[in-house]
Symmetry: C2
Subunit: 259 residues, 2 copies
Amino acid sequence: MYTLGIDIGSTSSKCVVMADGSDVVSSAIIEKGAGTDGVDIVLEKALGDAGITMDDIKMTISTGYGRKSYNGDKDMSELSCHAKGGAYIFGEVATIIDIGGQDAKVLRLDKNGQLQNFVMNDKCAAGTGRFLEVMANVLHVDLNEFGEYDAQATERTPISSTCTVFAESEVISCLANNADVKNIIKGIHYSVASRVAGQAKRVGVVPPVVMTGGVSRNSGVVRALEEELDTSIAVSEDSQLAGAIGAAIYAYESYLKNK
Amino acid sequence: MYTLGIDIGSTSSKCVVMADGSDVVSSAIIEKGAGTDGVDIVLEKALGDAGITMDDIKMTISTGYGRKSYNGDKDMSELSCHAKGGAYIFGEVATIIDIGGQDAKVLRLDKNGQLQNFVMNDKCAAGTGRFLEVMANVLHVDLNEFGEYDAQATERTPISSTCTVFAESEVISCLANNADVKNIIKGIHYSVASRVAGQAKRVGVVPPVVMTGGVSRNSGVVRALEEELDTSIAVSEDSQLAGAIGAAIYAYESYLKNK
Ligand code: SF4
């Protein structure tokens, strides 16, 4: 029995086809978010890879920032879907740290992978992917290489301003003072980590801790967060799919309940 | 008897020569702040205009962000100096709203012009002159013309993000959607005003209300704040000198006390 989970974010769309709420049959991700044809593309790709059509899908749930724009059977909060999908991907999970392109959330889960509590920042660019983007721009370094640069740093150039705008000026001064770009990047990662760690401490950080969202691909931020929170943090290649997987599982459960 | 007040801000330096703690003899302002030769320039100019030398000065107090960088007789908190100078310039004052290049403060004064309470934002660029600078840059409009543009607006383009970084993206979208630059600027002024009004309400807004700091020269922000706070707000050409005047008065009082 197939269900579909669709996660329409602000900058990307993801789709997952699931069998019996327990196995991912196919998935697709595209860096095109709400208001684009991204959802159509991932839908077609995921169905094609599974070798099925929309008629084979018993239920579809959409989630994410643009969830209302897709006319599925139901839409659900990205927080619940994220919690559910995170528990599926990582197995046992008590805390999910999700840093996206323009927000950051920390989710606390109960034993059943249900959302218990959360804190969310979507008002301030500091501590989100946007902060890193601004810095990549001013440093002229590809954001995808930030993890690698961080790994090669010999020390950390401290960035004292939390605010993205003031930190940007600080980074410009550091460059003018010939600070090493690798060390500045390490400092930038600590800035993000300390901001998100502050958030995390408000919900309470209980292991096992996992990290999801686009920024989880940046090993420098992961390392800095592990230090700040004094705990190890698991990441997964599939973590970008957490919301879509959660939606597909909820679709399965919802279908069974209403049958 | 002459005293000197020097206010070294982050983006400008001001100097005031005062006679007997009651008359401004000369003053100078330059758009060069801490860490530059700005302080030397204003010092030389103010002394020159007064026709005196450093030997004629009985006491010097420095204030502002860069106050420690000047080796005067004493340095004092910019808050106290600002309160004192504000009361000197405006006469009766109960609330001072000071929006500078990278911070914003709201000061509540008692009947004697002494600081009673304050709130300060120097952590977030939103609601400060920096927010306006970022916007001037993205709009390619001289910040000095913002007040004029605002006066010619036919409506206000709402800016929903408070964060400077997110608001900047919003403004770029507005431009792409052919919104009128004058209306966007009016929206930007309301963004600053609503942020600062939130701060002001935390100390309580008691009239007479005055506005100081570099942003007080922007009539659009003043108008927006008057609307947000539902009160009239006095501004003065001299308000940029408030800190330096306060420092010079304190220098006079301090000299008398220690004599
Ligand atoms: S602190 Fe900086 S990044 Fe955060 S809301 Fe304020 S302006 Fe935006």
